[in-house]
Symmetry: C2
Amino acid sequence: MCFVYILYTILMMGTKTENRVAEKSTAAEQVYNALKRDIITLQHQPGVSLTEQQLATLYGTSRVPVREACRRLGQEGLLTGRPYRGYSVNHISLKEIGDCFDLRLGLESRALELAAQRATAGDLNRLSNLATIEYTYHDWDSYVEFLDRNLDFHIQLASLSRNDRLVAVLRDLLGSMQRFFFLGLDLGDFASEMRSEHEELVALLSSDSPDLAIGCLNRQITSSRDRILRALIEDRIDLPIG
Amino acid sequence: MCFVYILYTILMMGTKTENRVAEKSTAAEQVYNALKRDIITLQHQPGVSLTEQQLATLYGTSRVPVREACRRLGQEGLLTGRPYRGYSVNHISLKEIGDCFDLRLGLESRALELAAQRATAGDLNRLSNLATIEYTYHDWDSYVEFLDRNLDFHIQLASLSRNDRLVAVLRDLLGSMQRFFFLGLDLGDFASEMRSEHEELVALLSSDSPDLAIGCLNRQITSSRDRILRALIEDRIDLPIG
DNA sequence: CTATTGTGCTTTGTATACATTTTGTATACA
DNA sequence: TGTATACAAAATGTATACAAAGCACAATAG
């Protein structure tokens, strides 16, 4: 291994990853958040066409902030915009679900590998506070918040890798994957199964068993994917294949 | 393994990954390309401040297309924009180089793993055509084109995974990493060392040795990182650490 | 002398008017 | 009847004018 990289590795032990500050809400930011939420919760269903003017009146602003929001969401994989022809909400295909989970596996595995090398005891303590998530059955708002906290846990876990770039990519990916959980599934089952997984993961990390933790995470992500796929099939929810 | 995923896997064997069509050049697209090129080649040096108006006059257009280009480049990690305060070209720190290479390792490893399962003989033939890259020593234009083709090779290799999402992320990442090669290094050495690596990789893939191929790729990426880090140190190029 | 507040300048944020492109439709012609 | 062309409608792409926000610096009160 290159001696420079050893130096680099040592330096990284001490660096702090920047915590994203809450940015002040500009109109473009608000439209971005609202539109993203509405797409994720399927208020705008996959495949429907959206025009800038339409969204502008819907969210009470002009076309410019809408435009910016649409471009961002386009890059995150929730929208597709064709020049001079407007936007359409991306379809959720079986292929896309598989692609996203494959990518997620790669990213989170790598992040956890790095996190095991770099995380401190204090980091793990702070993380364990996020691990336990309350959830009341069949309450929609509660479920939305549960998903938010679940996302946050995975982001914070990845942040222990101290790799800002990786975390940024993962944040976008997990954000757009939230949509999968709103496909008309029986949501209760998911939450109850996912609850204990976080604690298991933190425990393995705390006991300094990186390989076990990575295996555990892989099993969890894989089973999450399979839960979704199985539920889709069993509930006979029609999705495009490719 | 979930039975549904087995079905999914079989289906994926036959799917074709969409080839990105060359989009017609709108002004925003042109500014994006020009600005990206100028940042990568360090015409705009790391750390300098840029204003929308300044860029608009520089590239001969109005602020709107410039704005869009800046937002895209911001999301790709080349620029940082602070609200009401303009943009600045991101610094290249040792930490960022390390972060990017770590992420790249994770992404390309995963892609190659999938590619080994899914690629056909025809795919590998087509790829091997891209593997050999001509390069004339100490010719700047030639070196730029060499880097472009090197990028293309890695993108096409990753495309064999049939995972569009992964490819999109990798494309952005590798694009912003191009900048590392323009830090005033002796470029000739890099090119000559990198040339044979592609062929070795394709050969291992063709001989159906996925594990060897992944190991080979990992060594190549790691040594590429170390070449850059070592050259930076030896040439005494001052970079921020964190 | 220090801290705070106000003022002005710079730059982005937003709205709106206009240009350009795409696509569908109607019509003329073979 | 089929095809090609011209035109109209709808949407984004671009430019510009104005509003809002941040920051530096000076003036002022303590």
